[in-house]
Symmetry: C2
Subunit: 480 residues, 2 copies
């Protein structure tokens, strides 16, 4: 796509609604929108929030070019005064969000916008797109990395990604989720995610013999050699030729940092056989990389079967989150400011009860047990509620209000932090490496039961008593 | 992503291999690579080729900036002479491809590159990414559009797309596959795909009453009104308020071109009830739009149950091709030119027999029956083979060579057309509207049996006798 400014990446209805808000004066009213999701992909117990950095850049350069205005005028739907307004348009509101890499749960606000109606409405699509895409991939990456149990996982999926951003920014999100690197060069250049790679089958085919291809590669990249051994026959030709090349070229130089890569056939069987052959040849230093349609389930199965793999190269099933390729984040109006500044909570009811929203401008707390350090529960409160950690705090399940739990000896942490205030950024973007480390640390604070791949324990996301009362009243109002 | 030139969107190994080809002189040798895929997503009978326009733009601006060279130098892996070479790098080869919108089948070359080794290698990732992404979405869109049986299908998925290109270019691909329009404004501005939209729940919530929200919208957009009726209660509140607004605002102006939109609840039931209410109110002119987790299966089921829907708005299940979100196109070396210009066919064998490639520089023919006009079979031939339509032509199944079929009274059409010759574009890009029309026409030439959603008839993709003999010989060579 030939466009750096993505202000026009919005749903057309955001523009028609904004034109309406402009004409009837609503555009001066502050509105509050929450981004939240309803279910964790793959039936997992938590998701990883990501995408905030791209939202920050988007908000900072939000504006309409003359050609955009011209295009809109050609639609013959928009008032000239509105088009004039768009010419000077910029974001003047507030944004709060959980930092990238934070484990998050259904129904809690990952990001909250407080802005005049048009500004809040026009950013809907991009804000959702950025969070949905990167949270999807970071969440999937975290599953795959956990399945690898400490082994290295590399992101190899650019060619199967859904578009250029799918590849480049997807690899960024995969790094947040714990991948050690990517094959995507541009992700390294732009975001500092370490890029690396081995060789394609075409390299081997270009030479008159497999051995010559391996030998040449070892001579070129002695410090960083991974030989792809399945172009002809893995065990009969590939591994023996690799052993010969390592022994003839690398070992004499004292280099022991090399590997082979398996990309087809039965990886469990081939990796065990290859491991034996390498060990028998005195190359126990040689690592084994595997690729070919891997995901968390196959990795877990391979390791259970004793596969001898040190590094997993994961492609299409990570970069598209193939088993559950949609992160269903939504953007819902939760409050409007009256002209006198009063915040009027709003609710969206639905024939599907799971689609009913949590109204009001809110705060999101996470409670940590002071003894174990583990996360106990999250609570959604009204924006002005303060939780006193020195008082026992009773939480209850909003879907089963008789289920209560009283917390003592806990720390309460506000998860959302201010990102923009009055259109100015007030948040310093952390480095991608810090985000990855923070994600690893925070996931480590979840109980194992919440981290289970299948049928995990449902982490508590409760409403404060005040919020619950307001929600109930609004629901009753709608019914009547 | 802040980048217009996507030359660095390549797998890192393409650069390390290229550095090797440069140093050992291979870079002057012409190589031939095919793009093909192995299975149709969703178990369908055919795919729709798309993505060529983005490849053309990419190839035309392929070059490395000083900052790219600097980044590569920092890796301490690349020879200075290679980096100097990259500074002047451009594409000088040939590209052949099937036009966008063409129905294509497993194992046939959608695109063929003939270029010096480095050039052919460095474009691998982007070429695959563009074809894989857009063919995926165009193929899915065609399934959904066919399920709608002539009703309008609109693409509504930007917010759930995998990145900005996933949204913007995905909507382009959905249009190729037959969608009538998109919600994505930028896709309209950049590619001319008609953008439209209705209203969000937030519009309705902004007003003191649902009726006031509807009335205001009708007054603003009298010629193009679709009212979202499920914010509070579809049948008790939404539809009655919509009927009142249509009757009070639009009918008196003689306007009858309006609609309601259902976005939750049971669409089959609600649409029938709403249809009755509208008809009883004398508004049989009012159309009904439905959205909410739709795909080809749900649309087929809804229509079987007598749902009264005129327009389908399809979101996440289209823009991510949710049920099968990967198009597995691969890029494989099929031949190398010897210094004397002889084309030396190359094969890639594999422990997985389905991964064995079809060697050589090839032509792709499609045979049409002169009587019915229908497509009969495709055949892969050597580049210099010519098929005489006046002679009976016998084709055979490469996986079951005893199965033969003799064609008479047929037309043979070469599917690949030249796109670049010696680095110069020789192909005029068709308009997006022409691509959509061509796609509709060409899919219409496939037998119904090939178009079935589940367990379709396998369309014949055969090898010419000469190609088959060459492949067999190469396989024997590898085995020995």
């Amino acid at each position: 796509m030939q466009r750096e400014n993505l202000s026009m990446l919005c749903d057309f209805y955001e523009l028609t609604m904004s034109n309406g808000y402009f004409l009837n004066g609503f555009y001066k009213r502050n509105t509050y929108f929450d981004v939240f999701f309803r279910t964790v992909p793959d039936g997992g117990g938590f998701a990883i929030a990501a995408g905030l950095e791209q939202i920050v850049h988007y908000i900072e350069q939000l504006h309409f070019e003359e050609e955009d205005i011209e295009y809109l005028r050609s639609k013959k739907l928009f008032d000239e005064k509105f088009l004039t307004y768009l010419r000077e348009f910029k974001f003047t509101g507030d944004i709060y969000a959980v930092p990238e890499g934070t484990p998050v749960f259904p129904n809690e606000p990952i990001l909250t916008v407080r802005a005049p109606a048009i500004e809040a409405q026009l950013i809907e699509t991009f804000v959702l797109l950025a969070i949905n895409h990167q949270s999807l991939i970071a969440t999937k990456a975290k599953r795959i990395v956990r399945a690898a149990q400490g082994r290295v996982v590399l992101e190899f999926g650019s060619r199967r990604a859904q578009g250029a951003d799918g590849a480049v920014i997807g690899a960024r999100a995969a790094y947040i989720g714990g991948c050690a690197g990517t094959a995507c060069t541009l992700t390294d250049e732009l975001y500092g995610v370490p890029a690396g790679g081995t060789m394609a089958h075409s390299w081997v085919q270009m030479f008159d013999s497999e051995y010559e291809a391996f030998k040449t590669y070892c001579e070129l990249y002695p410090d960083n050699t991974t030989l792809l051994v399945d172009t002809y026959n893995t065990l009969k030709s590939g591994v023996p030729n690799a052993i010969r090349a390592f022994k003839e070229i690398l070992l004499p130089k004292g280099i022991t940092n090399f590997a082979i890569r398996l990309d087809s056939g039965d990886i469990a069987y081939l990796s065990r056989q290859a491991r034996n052959m390498l060990d028998e040849a005195g190359l126990s230093c040689c690592k084994i990389t595997a690729s070919n349609a891997l995901d968390e389930h196959l990795i877990r199965d391979l390791l259970m079967q004793g596969a001898c793999i040190d590094t997993f190269g994961v492609g299409e099933r990570l970069i598209t989150a193939r088993s559950a390729p949609v992160f269903g984040g939504v953007y819902k109006l939760v409050a409007i400011e009256a002209p006198d500044g009063t915040i009027v909570p709003k609710i969206k009811v639905s024939e599907n009860t799971s689609k009913i929203t949590n109204p009001h401008f809110k705060k999101l707390y996470r409670f940590f047990d002071n003894e174990s350090g583990k996360a106990l529960a999250d609570e959604l409160c009204i924006y002005d509620e303060v939780i006193d950690p020195d008082t026992p705090h009773t939480i209850f399940d909003p879907n089963a209000t008789w289920k209560t739990k009283t917390l003592t000896n806990f720390t309460a942490k506000e998860l959302q932090v201010p990102i923009f205030k009055n259109g100015k950024r007030v948040y310093e973007l952390p480095s991608i490496h810090d985000i990855q480390a923070y994600c690893t640390e925070q996931v480590g604070l979840l109980w194992d039961e919440v981290q289970r791949f299948e049928n995990p324990h449902t982490y508590y996301v409760d409403l404060s008593r005040r919020l619950w009362d307001i929600k109930r009243l609004l629901l009753q109002d709608c019914k009547s």
